[in-house]
Subunit: 307 residues, 6 copies
Amino acid sequence: MTSEKSVGSGLRECLGPHCSFLGLAVPECAFENAGAVIIPVPYDATTTYRAGTREGPRAILAASRELEPYDEETCTEAYRHGIATLEELPVVVSSPRDMLDSVRVVGAQVLRSGKLPVLLGGEHLLSLGMIEAAADHFGDLSILHLDAHADLREQYQGSPYSNACIMRHGAALAPVVQVGIRSLTAEEHEFIRAKKIPCFFAHDLHRDPSLYARVIPCLGKRVYLSIDLDVFDPAVMPSVGTPEPGGLSWYEVIDLLRAVFRERQVVGFDVMELLPVPCFAAPDFLAARLVYKLLSFFFAGAARPPC
Amino acid sequence: MTSEKSVGSGLRECLGPHCSFLGLAVPECAFENAGAVIIPVPYDATTTYRAGTREGPRAILAASRELEPYDEETCTEAYRHGIATLEELPVVVSSPRDMLDSVRVVGAQVLRSGKLPVLLGGEHLLSLGMIEAAADHFGDLSILHLDAHADLREQYQGSPYSNACIMRHGAALAPVVQVGIRSLTAEEHEFIRAKKIPCFFAHDLHRDPSLYARVIPCLGKRVYLSIDLDVFDPAVMPSVGTPEPGGLSWYEVIDLLRAVFRERQVVGFDVMELLPVPCFAAPDFLAARLVYKLLSFFFAGAARPPC
Amino acid sequence: MTSEKSVGSGLRECLGPHCSFLGLAVPECAFENAGAVIIPVPYDATTTYRAGTREGPRAILAASRELEPYDEETCTEAYRHGIATLEELPVVVSSPRDMLDSVRVVGAQVLRSGKLPVLLGGEHLLSLGMIEAAADHFGDLSILHLDAHADLREQYQGSPYSNACIMRHGAALAPVVQVGIRSLTAEEHEFIRAKKIPCFFAHDLHRDPSLYARVIPCLGKRVYLSIDLDVFDPAVMPSVGTPEPGGLSWYEVIDLLRAVFRERQVVGFDVMELLPVPCFAAPDFLAARLVYKLLSFFFAGAARPPC
Amino acid sequence: MTSEKSVGSGLRECLGPHCSFLGLAVPECAFENAGAVIIPVPYDATTTYRAGTREGPRAILAASRELEPYDEETCTEAYRHGIATLEELPVVVSSPRDMLDSVRVVGAQVLRSGKLPVLLGGEHLLSLGMIEAAADHFGDLSILHLDAHADLREQYQGSPYSNACIMRHGAALAPVVQVGIRSLTAEEHEFIRAKKIPCFFAHDLHRDPSLYARVIPCLGKRVYLSIDLDVFDPAVMPSVGTPEPGGLSWYEVIDLLRAVFRERQVVGFDVMELLPVPCFAAPDFLAARLVYKLLSFFFAGAARPPC
Amino acid sequence: MTSEKSVGSGLRECLGPHCSFLGLAVPECAFENAGAVIIPVPYDATTTYRAGTREGPRAILAASRELEPYDEETCTEAYRHGIATLEELPVVVSSPRDMLDSVRVVGAQVLRSGKLPVLLGGEHLLSLGMIEAAADHFGDLSILHLDAHADLREQYQGSPYSNACIMRHGAALAPVVQVGIRSLTAEEHEFIRAKKIPCFFAHDLHRDPSLYARVIPCLGKRVYLSIDLDVFDPAVMPSVGTPEPGGLSWYEVIDLLRAVFRERQVVGFDVMELLPVPCFAAPDFLAARLVYKLLSFFFAGAARPPC
Amino acid sequence: MTSEKSVGSGLRECLGPHCSFLGLAVPECAFENAGAVIIPVPYDATTTYRAGTREGPRAILAASRELEPYDEETCTEAYRHGIATLEELPVVVSSPRDMLDSVRVVGAQVLRSGKLPVLLGGEHLLSLGMIEAAADHFGDLSILHLDAHADLREQYQGSPYSNACIMRHGAALAPVVQVGIRSLTAEEHEFIRAKKIPCFFAHDLHRDPSLYARVIPCLGKRVYLSIDLDVFDPAVMPSVGTPEPGGLSWYEVIDLLRAVFRERQVVGFDVMELLPVPCFAAPDFLAARLVYKLLSFFFAGAARPPC
């Protein structure tokens, strides 16, 4: 009778317009009917600069409730496929690895249910839990990593579990393709070269936009998509911890991802590192719209004719 | 199966920790079991200076979810008596009088159910709807009005339905006692004198704190309590539209109201005009704590021995 | 002898650099000499999300006082044609329709005086009052509507007078051309198709910039121009209530409107929905510059050779 | 015909509710009828910590327009005695001494006209210009200085004209009495002792409130009153450059100054150093209310019976 | 030759006005000469509501650089006794217990050097590391705990190392006296009664200020002083995570602690949980002034006659 | 032994990660080894609109400490060439000319040492001191001026030393080339034509990007580069005093300056007028990244092959 029905061991769903993505009501927000599942995780314990990405999931959900549920580009109402929203995953403070394990367990549950998991951060570290779950679930997985930073360090602050290291772990689990990178260390650059990681630097994409077309061929059939919002230019996405000038525009990201969803099978995605700026909601709207746009691409499918 | 169970014609309750006062879960937040009912109304259409009291109810509810549910002064857990939270009342834009009617209808329903209505504003105009409902329901009613402003104008901006006029209407329905006033016109002062309204000015209360003891004898047996948060000193409550220096302290208000709850029958109350300041949550906490403190007084009752 | 000389029934002008657009002094800001008249209306009663567009007109005027009065593109000083600024139109709280009537009356007076009316909002609903006045005054009128939202609903919040509905009314008065749309309902999309409204979606304009050239041929000889500032991309205009990514750039809007002013007769325009963000003045400057740029286009006329 | 009528060499008045104190209209805001003259000076060039007191005068005037023009304590409407507001004094950047000279000239003009000058800062340095004018105009003058800081340094940043030094200059022109001090150097403390300056430290006033009664006997018949707003406790006045805990309350300041106005002849006063905090208007209201309260005391006079 | 001279295994001092408390230069800020040592720890990993106390130490140090180094109450310049400032302690993300161990090690080093350790947080959890070090170093220790919250839970978020639990640990190491409490659970209240912890509730102190005199007799000879800044009333200290109305004033805290420093031997203290509010520096100044006031009390000693 | 070693008459360097650009430690931040010298000047006395560019240098340095020291475009670590950071230049309040003299003296010292001076403002006026020093030091100098404003007035606010006038002085010392201009007076436009100053207006560069290639041929061999950050579009650089729409993008500026550094000898540069917006750090990062990007270009040299 409560608003948070249990939907598995430890999973509880949010029912009703006060807490669901888009402000959906039953039946569209019910877990059992849902094609996709939003997983908000308000955790930012290992960030070392500005705090606050823990506020990200709430800000995205709040902005989502102001969106029109119709997508004029695909002429679809994706919410009709069902979008469940889980309660915020409880924060575990004992260690970052413990928090990751919690994400991985939830991710695995959602994947086993045949629904699309959509992680909302929170700090980028959390994506590793979803990547682990996805790599476990699918034998063949590619990771598409959109970010300003390479996140390929071996360790940081004396720990291997940090934002700065997640794709080092990820690369050990599945092939990684990086897009939008414009901040890394000499060592990370060396690692990219040594491991032949396809890395599309932001300044190269700016100089030669035709490079975008080379991203998808680097990806396998099944793709996990991890988006650190700082991949966007700070003009449209200033609400991140370490904004780097020279990033991607809304349409550059959307055009790339439309093609990815059309030509590959996306098995899960995340939108991470929103650090809401007080009184400045435009970036929160962008993040919410991005999530819904990707869901529209997902549900529209490859076969759909343009409207 | 949704989180907003209908509890009467048009009333819908919020179930679960995401939307209820204190973050209560069922059964403590269920309407049918509740001794008190929170009614949030995000409306601020007739304010003419700074906008934003529409954000007040959400800010109070958010802060309430961080409160401890125990009151160390009364040694009670008031929430065990049941505190339901209604969905935000839908805003009606056709006219202020239409909005007032909507509040009055809800207030009447809650009063008929024998529960204590607690209105969260939103602009002070809304209180008039509750006062109308209470005056209708109870033959003999007194109004205790805590405010920096007298709100006794005949009309304002060419309309009789405005924040600046509500106690002019109120005084026609039931005897009014005013506490904390420190901003009014010469005409309002003349009206107070002509109508012999017991008005305890802030500067007099400062000069002679023993005046507080004279408030309760002015009140009848049944009291509706209307609190404009600007009655508090701006030191503790800067988050209002027109803050006036020289207001009441936390303990001055609490000590007065503890006595009111002990010596009179409070049949409803409201906490109005919170205009949340970005990044500055202390006043939101004060408002939330005030609501719970008054509920603790209400449920503790007069008979309870001190712990 | 006061600073607000009456200039007709109910109209009062602001004289002097403290309150006029650009900080103009007499004679450039005197109503009788003015070619254009700024009409600020600080009203936002029917917005339902964030409040605050009532602060818009003041923010635009404040920023305008920091502008250079010279336009380097047209090599003109448009203010020499006279730009009067009216006092803020008094807010009417009795009902939205009453407020609209007040705008319509002022608009009609300015139009009868042969001057160009320039409405500064405030919420977009107000534009309808100006459109009504213009449609009344001119037999043949086209409406050019720049917005992120279609605003074509039949009603909203139980009322036909809402931001979300104004172009539904507008379309009944004169043919409407829409530019920059990227948020609407399935029903509104259907209405656009059914009524064959020329609607230039933002994503189409992005994909094919040559579409801009097709806007003007859709317009009749006389044009009323209504600009909801959210037509701009949030990168340059985050200070709106519901920012939508993927909007138009400064030069895209300016290049389109330069052509409109050159090839059509603009009989009035409005710049609406600025919701100023504290400490973040760049969007206020954009709005002020936009108004002056359009006035420069208006006064420069079609015949003027480039400097 | 402009809104800023010239009222002497270089003085220009603001006419009309958009720019005058309290939003007064003619005749109450006309210079020729005025008993008091507000002089706003938006200058903060020698402050070395946070910038922004230049915004102070505008913030005080804006808040003043929301005040009721009636004072319920004195039962008066002080504005009926006429309160003119001058245009902001133009900032002179050539040197601090040049700026001071400009203030002194204006102060002298107002004093010669027999009206009460009321300076609104801006930085505290400016008070010295008024003090020089007043000391020049009146043979016998006392200075009452309310401040958290002693401002008695010999020089600061290599210049004798700095906020930190003004009472060193002031003390050479007229006897100074200091109230509320709680931040000074050992050298300043030594100077106070050596010169036997009556200095009422905040911590002493806290410990023994009866000390307030000793302030007035230290003052001569004619008093210039200089208020650095940081004399107030930061609880009610956080909007200053260097807030110091342990300051005076609203009623402590008002009670002291009521007595000063009753028992001495105040020949001018200033309210300085407001550094407005974005979105946090309560301190601006306090400053505006303080100005009007002091004007109410001034015009009510000693003889008036309490209402 | 660097600015951070190593002063022991892992300890590095900050030299020079850019980073030291009060902006001290050598020799006053040199570790070897110092009587007291400031230990800033920018850690807030286990807080679950608003993030940001990691910014606290930097804000306190920045504000301290604007303080006068003279204390007018004690007529002393405490900095002449030497106040060293350590570099920010590196954050350890592996687990809260690991972070605590790091604090404990530093605390022990400072205590062994015979200097007074002064911890600046950061979240209150960190105090436990200092308490462990002090309890280790001194056989007989009392803990004086100023806080709005009892912090006596057994565990929180599934971990015993959390802000909400630290005095449960502390009470096992040394007798605890609590002052200012006004938020706790029924279970914590029961624990206080069962363990006979002297707990001075805020509402009791308000009702009967003579209770303050009973605090010191509850303390042993050697005292570790732990201050959660939310013990202050939010009027003066709104910059905390969970502000509770009804707290202590500046003079109430200072008067109590002056007596503690005079009548007991304070062996270390901490000032925790500052969560700086943007553009609102007054609370940062209070925290900085508090630290220096306590150092003035410490160095002035019991014997010193009043100036 | 202090952290600020004296490095000449009056120059003091900041040593250590707390205060140096990029957070460099010795030996990379030592003056004697440095190829470039950062000169922060927190001065904004002659700005007349919003105050606060005095906070600019600190904000740039703070952001710089979060940058990766590697530049992925040039594959270099420019810091290895040594980047010293001077202490903030003491503010001189006696007159703007005195402040300029102080900058000129420091600039001359750095130039004589053969290092590259990099001035961080603070208001744009300060650049004139560096230009004077550079024009003095080098017989043949060109000035490349990136700005939204022409800054070519003869005087402003009765003084020739103002932001609005600096290039009038500059043009008398060396040929000036202007890029990005989009705000000026008719008189300034006339001056540009009369003096045949190569001025690349923003709207022309937008219309015809090939114009960028014409900038460098206008420059002599040795170039002093002065950047007012408002040359950027407000989308990426809103943190300036008078933001003007229609500015340059990150890549437009970087592409131009890469070529300048490759084809000319830059002898010094400045990055001016950052007015940090609270809670909005992206523009501070842009400014810091810009400084480091230009240093990377400087040290990479013309000969270096692309990585």
